[in-house]
């Protein structure tokens, strides 16, 4: 409210009485047009690089970067796309990455939401200590433990298996924190009623909290899915068999080995990005609505 009090008198006040006259209309139209142009500017900036990738996927290998520059391909050649879609290694890495991402997401939702519930609603010894420990892990950058966690997974005989991709990152303090924030805001009256009904704590978690968790679950789930789908350094260190190649690993290897086949690289990148874009478009409403929780509140 203090802001209103300090507002200086508007200098444009003199024009205010005119607002209802026809003169206002072209101005409103102008403002609308400006907004539309500004909006288009942002949309183009955001989507152009992706469009460029898709277009380049239709170019032959010498067309992608060539002089004189050419925006569109001479012939819209679908060969790159069909060829890469016919590559069994590419398809398999798409499949394996998708499988891993789904498992990772499910695991992440399960372990993180359980912990979130315990930290939000249950009283137990060492709660504070454990909470501090869990939250501290949030601030350990991956680079610090890159080598030592590699040694750990080697000792556990997990190298070159799906487990090495799925297990290490699934427990994440940031997700526990986020889901817990949501659970803290669930009215106590709800669960007290359930407790009186004889539900028990598990029942409360399963019947009351989980069904209400769609919003945080969509955010945590999609984030987990994307994290898995987009990870690069960990897979190249831990996965050796081409049968388990992750999609980013495949693309990076393609880039370093067949550096002259840019058209196909672009087609592959576009196809590798397509699934996440689809997942996002399916859940976009929930994600966008829930972003504010992911942020501050």
């Amino acid at each position: 409210m203090t802001q209103n009090a300090t507002l200086t008198p508007p200098t444009s006040g003199g024009l205010a009485p005119d607002t209802d006259t026809p003169r206002r209309r072209p101005r409103r139209w102008l403002a609308g047009t400006l907004k539309a142009i500004a909006g288009m500017f942002f949309v183009v900036l955001a989507l152009f690089p992706l469009a460029w990738m898709v277009i380049a996927g239709f170019k032959t290998k010498t067309e992608v970067v060539r002089t004189p520059f050419q925006f569109f391909p001479e012939v819209w050649n679908t060969e790159n796309y069909t060829q890469i879609l016919a590559d069994p290694v590419f398809l398999r890495s798409l499949g394996v990455t998708a499988l891993g991402a789904v498992l990772f997401t499910l695991l992440s939702l399960t372990v993180n939401s359980m912990a979130a519930y315990a930290f939000a609603r249950l009283e137990f010894q060492l709660k504070r200590t454990l909470w501090v420990v869990v939250i501290t892990t949030m601030f350990i950058p991956g680079m610090t433990i890159l080598l030592t966690s590699f040694i750990m997974v080697t000792k556990l005989q997990m190298l070159d298996t799906l487990a090495v991709l799925v297990l290490p990152g699934a427990a994440a303090a940031i997700h526990v924190f986020f889901i817990r924030q949501f659970y803290l805001n669930v009215p106590r009256s709800l669960e007290e009623a359930a407790l009186i009904d004889g539900c028990g704590r598990w029942g409360v978690y399963l019947r009351i909290f989980l069904p209400m968790s769609k919003a945080p679950f969509v955010v945590v789930g999609v984030t987990s899915f994307l994290t898995f789908w987009n990870s690069y350094v960990w897979p190249i260190m831990t996965i050796t068999s081409p049968e388990l190649y992750q999609i980013q690993q495949y693309l990076a290897a393609f880039r370093s080995e067949r550096s002259s086949e840019l058209g196909m690289l672009m087609a592959g990148s576009a196809l590798a990005a397509a699934p996440v874009v689809l997942v996002f478009l399916v859940f976009q409403r929930q994600i966008i609505a829930n972003i504010k929780m992911a942020g501050l509140k």
Partner: protein
């Protein structure tokens, strides 16, 4: 609410199932798929990692492993291809965890690895006859202080000049006479530039820091007669004015726009030449096999020559030689079996190695005398005109890669690049390089390392 619960239970079951699945995937030796497990049976398994190279090289690697596995039933070599972008981090991590492969190819010098105890000595694992045919220059890079730590596969000059005869003719230059000295190069470029279209350049040399670091070593030697560190590794010698001239050479190429200001492709690829983006390119001899494989249409008009030197003298320190030798990891549990594989692949029948050199279009020099003879006798050798240039005009005038730590190369590469692209005067850039090298000498106690190396 009950349906939701059921759905949750469903998810829970799926999760349990997936955990079981993970556990199932979790058996098996790292780096080995189920098929290979079955194939190996109860044979002793030797893990072999190698890089991806050009197509004919990759085919040879695959073939030699297959042949070895078929040749006996005691040992099974499990071959794993590690892409270039992943090699360093994968190898470091594997070494740290004690799971490095039993055998793998190593480029560059072995002395650092030997000092750290990374490789097994081969002398006791392979019969003395196995080393008899190795050429002197290949022996030099495979031994440390008289002990064999690697078995050499090949040698390849890291710098030769490729020129496009069509563009030369169009520019009014003699299509059969490539430039030999810096001055001739400048003249040629001046004449070539008018006929180039936008986005085409006179020449692509190595221009990124890391590539400059290794690719200019022979040039450093050529212009100054010594390397930027004294023989006994006690003092840095980077401030020689001759190095300033070398830097000015690169600055000229850069300022005149003879070279592109940003590498057109990865440091070891001849693709820009193949795609007609440059009239000349300085590249390793492997560039020719790349051109033959990927750009057959330009082979006809491609000439191969010794690299341009400061003074046009092409019979001295033309280039360093790249090489690959295979080493056995010091932590291996299958030393004997691994050595048997190396013996089969590299030290045995010349027929095993012949396809490697023939299929790479005679662009690499064999590391064994008998293999070299067999390769030269191959009818294909006569049809590869560049083969003779490489073996006769380049290979005899090469020097080995330096033994000192890589950081020293980087310091020089940085000095060249700083001066070429920035506003740093050559002398200042070299002074900085000199200081860096002094630091390295102290930090890594180089004089002692040098003494331990022997001669």
């Amino acid at each position: 609410m009950t349906t939701t619960t059921r759905r949750r239970l469903g998810a829970g079951t799926a999760l349990l199932a997936s955990v079981a699945l993970l556990a199932a995937c979790g058996s098996g030796t790292p780096g080995q798929s189920a098929d290979e497990d079955a194939e190996a049976g109860d044979r002793e398994v030797v893990e072999f990692w190698h890089h991806t190279f050009t197509t004919p090289e990759n085919e040879w690697y695959e073939q030699v492993v297959e042949d070895f596995n078929a040749s006996q039933d005691e040992i099974f070599v499990n071959s794993t291809v590690v892409p270039g972008d992943a090699w360093d981090e994968k190898m470091t991590a594997a070494q740290a965890a004690g799971t490095a492969p039993d055998v793998y190819p190593v480029p560059g010098r072995l002395n650092d690895g030997v000092r750290l105890g990374s490789y097994l000595a081969l002398d006791d694992l392979m019969p003395a006859e196995a080393f008899e045919q190795v050429t002197d220059s290949a022996a030099e890079i495979s031994q440390v202080d008289g002990t064999w730590y690697g078995y050499p596969l090949l040698l390849e000059p890291q710098r030769v000049l490729y020129w496009n005869k069509d563009i030369f003719a169009e520019a009014g230059l003699d299509p059969e006479t490539p430039p030999t000295s810096w001055d001739e190069l400048y003249e040629a470029c001046e004449q070539i530039q008018p006929v180039l279209s936008d986005g085409q350049f006179c020449i692509e040399t190595f221009s990124d820091q890391d590539t400059l670091a290794w690719s200019t070593v022979a040039e450093q030697m050529h212009v100054a007669g010594h390397l930027p560190i004294s023989e006994d590794w006690t003092t840095a010698e980077a401030t020689d004015p001759a190095y300033e001239e070398l830097i000015e050479h690169y600055t000229t190429l850069y300022d005149e726009g003879y070279i592109p200001r940003q590498s057109l492709a990865a440091g070891n690829s001849a693709a820009p030449f193949g795609e007609g983006e440059v009239a000349m390119i300085t590249q390793g001899s492997w560039g020719m096999s790349e051109l033959v494989a990927d750009y057959p249409e330009v082979v006809e008009s491609t000439g191969v020559a010794p690299t341009v030197t400061s003074d046009g003298n092409q019979t001295e320190t033309l280039t360093t030689v790249g090489n690959f030798k295979w080493v056995i990891d010091a932590n291996t549990e299958n030393a004997e079996a691994t050595a048997a594989f190396i013996e089969f692949a590299l030290a045995g029948d010349t027929d095993v190695l012949l396809p490697f050199f023939v299929n790479t279009q005679f662009t690499k020099a064999p590391a064994r005398e008998d293999v070299a003879e067999a390769v030269n006798a191959d009818p294909g050798a006569a049809e590869a005109p560049w083969a003779q240039v490489i073996t006769e005009d380049v290979v005899p005038y090469t020097i080995g890669e330096p033994l000192y730590p890589w950081d020293v190369n980087v310091a020089m590469g940085l000095a060249i690049q700083q001066s070429m692209m920035g506003d740093v005067a050559p002398a200042d850039a070299l002074a900085e390089a000199n200081a860096t090298i002094e630091q390295i000498i102290e930090r890594e106690d180089l004089p002692t390392n040098r003494e331990e190396l022997g001669d």
